[in-house]
Amino acid sequence: MGYPEYMNESLQMVEASRPRRVELSKQGLQNILKPLSAEGRHKVLSENHPDYQPDARKSIRVGINRGESMTGQVVDVLESYSRLPQGFRLEPLDYETDVLVIGGGGAGCMAANWARRGGAKVIISTKLRLGDANSMMSQGGMQAAINPHDSPLFHYLDAMGGGHFDNKPELMQVLTSEAPYIAKHLEELGVMWDRTPDGNLSTQAGGGGSRRRMLSARDYTGAEIMRVLRDEVRNFPEDILLLEYFPAVELLKDREGKVAGAVLFNMETGEYAVIKSKVVILTTGGFGRLHIKDFPTTNHYGATMDGVVMAYRAGAQLLHMDSVQFHPTGAIYPPQIFGFLITEKIRGMGGQPLNAKGELFVFPLEPRDVEASEYIQECKKGMGVPTPDGKVGVWLDSPIVEILHGQGIIERAFPAMFRQYRRFDIDIRKQPMLVYPTLHYQNGGVETDPNTHTNLPGLLVAGEVSGGVHGRNRLMGNSVLDYNVFGRRAGIEAARMAKETSSPQGLNLEHVASFESELKEAGVTRDRFAPVLLPEYRNISALEKHRQDFDPFLPAGL
């Protein structure tokens, strides 16, 4: 396939400007293309970032955060009715356990492993397979302030500034001070971190960072960690029961109002299961498949904000749900990889964003919201490169990485990206990639504290579903760190709580009933249901040709 001929002129300009850009890079780009000041950031964000557009947000009419402004599509999904059929019976009970982990990604596996270590019996419910999560897909790295000239305090300051200072300080303190321990813990579990010749963990620069502290495992960092965490869960089949292809669709409470379990739903067979649990840990990840503002996404198929929906219905406090992270470098060509993540590590190792004329127009390592806004702005100015299917983007010059670090570095440090593009006859060692922002991360979520508690007794949260750690914009490498640090804390805390809790009594769905009355009062009709579970990508018009009222989840899709 390769690039279409009409892009050759622009590609040649990229090549022509490269030798000079190599020199600039060696001198240290921050001296030539300065990062933006606070005012500069605010300007480019308010003029270009999708969050700041007038129709981006609306006020939610129901629930504990009623009256607050949140992202439009988020409100639409939260203002919806339960998937459970009317008159759903919670008897008989199908499973009973100490700790129920909802969501089988990085946070879920960490939580399950540590809850088990604390002596708890654990059940993990997942929508797809164990490990099918955004955790498996992250590429470039995990932040940890391990170098001698770095400090957890620099890490803290970088992340607070990146998050617009909306981060809860105590959460960021925990995150940054526990990072070195997590690096070591993962190594002991068998994670093959990239290393320098003297055996120390290899570190790269990241957006919004003041020191190099991205640890990585090639550009399969997330996959390397996820494979290990998942394997570890599977090494304890007697203590951890895996319920795969069995997502939760509603939380349960006991007669004291504590969260005490969940109802699971099998999308293929239509079967339900009721689980009673002393503690529930929510690790359901993000919301990319809601395609906010019609953006493509880097997220996995099941990232549909299920956990936030269920928790909100149960009365959980949400934080920063007006903030959406768009990753600046999503692929836009060829169309088959539209929206796919291209790791920030490329820029961390010297890769440069360029406009159609091959010119540098932005400091490559701004925090993500600023960087994404800059690309949007450049394209709005007409300086982007159009694709055959009507999109527009900027170049991300990857060959320069090969020049700066030596031949072979791209295959060595970016095998995933190299392979992804090679499948379409583009050699990223020789040609740049075409990129544009893509929907990437849920900055906010269910509000939490350093011990992963929420305002609901019995409910803990960890990972992307939680809110407060990253403020209104997460830095690269802090999400992988987040799910490890807080996944572990959730597991430890859950095991401790389970020892002090007796078996819950009087499981009920009263919170759902009261939420639905609120909806009715607010004028929301009973035609919207959540959790969404899976996005709809079928050619619906063809399927609805002869009838309406199409339920995608009836067994056999009939």
Binding site: Q30, L157, S210
Partner: protein, 232 residues
């Protein structure tokens, strides 16, 4: 996602039934266009998770090909089936009780030694890995080479499904990698030194200081901080 009215449709076969789907579709988007709601055999959709392992044959070619549903573009007359899961033995072990020696495979995956060096696994791997070579490295007891060559494995299972010796290559590789990561990788001192400092509360006062700053002062401190990505 809506498709424009006029488009280039090609013929493919899903589970032997004929469908017409847009040219340029991947196996996954072709299935969805044909009306399948995928609840299995799909995961990250970007080539990292191995959920969408698929087998296909092309017109006029006897060979059986393996590919990822998210990354394989359909061609006219392609015959497709998904293989969302391959039953595979996963040995139960505790890393801290193992030693990084070849004997771990004798105990945990003895079928490894049935390898015929036939390359069937390499032929079907959608990541273009040298699967036979990493298995042979494991047979020889060279854990580091097995780990290095298998690193990009996404555990899709196609190798194991096709292997005449019935080896589960991806689980052998996972064990090799975990042993290398824990025991054989050369370790430097930076991490441990930093952990000791954290445990000794070296940074507590610093955090407190930053948290006591007024919002304006914190902002000022942030924007005036030194950026240096060159030192270690």
């Amino acid at each position: 996602m809506n498709e424009p009215e006029k488009m280039d449709l090609i013929t493919i076969y899903i589970l032997s039934r004929q469908y017409h789907v847009p040219a340029g579709s991947t196996i996954l988007t072709a299935l969805e266009y044909a009306g399948f709601k995928l609840k299995k055999g799909v995961g990250c959709r970007e080539g990292f998770c191995g959920a969408c392992a698929s087998l296909y044959r092309l017109q006029g070619d006897y060979k059986l090909h393996g590919g990822l549903g998210c990354a394989t573009v359909v061609q006219p007359e392609m015959q497709i089936v998904q293989l969302p899961y391959t039953p595979a033995p996963k040995a139960i072990y505790h890393l801290e009780e193992l030693e990084p020696v070849p004997e771990v495979f004798t105990h945990l995956y003895p079928e490894l030694y049935r390898c015929l060096s036939c390359n069937t696994c390499t032929k079907i791997c959608p990541q273009d890995l040298q699967v036979m070579d990493y298995i042979q490295a494991a047979v020889r007891g060279d854990l580091e080479q097995a780990a290095d060559l298998s690193f990009d494995c996404i555990q899709c299972g196609l190798c194991s499904a096709r292997c005449p010796a019935e080896i589960t290559q991806f689980n052998v590789a996972l064990l090799a990698r975990r042993l290398v990561g824990r025991y054989l990788a050369k370790k430097g001192k930076y991490v441990e030194d930093r952990i000791k400092e954290v445990e000794a509360s070296k940074f507590t006062a610093g955090y407190q200081e930053l948290q006591d700053l007024s919002p304006e002062d914190l902002k000022k401190r942030y924007f005036e901080r030194e950026l240096n990505n060159l030192i270690f």
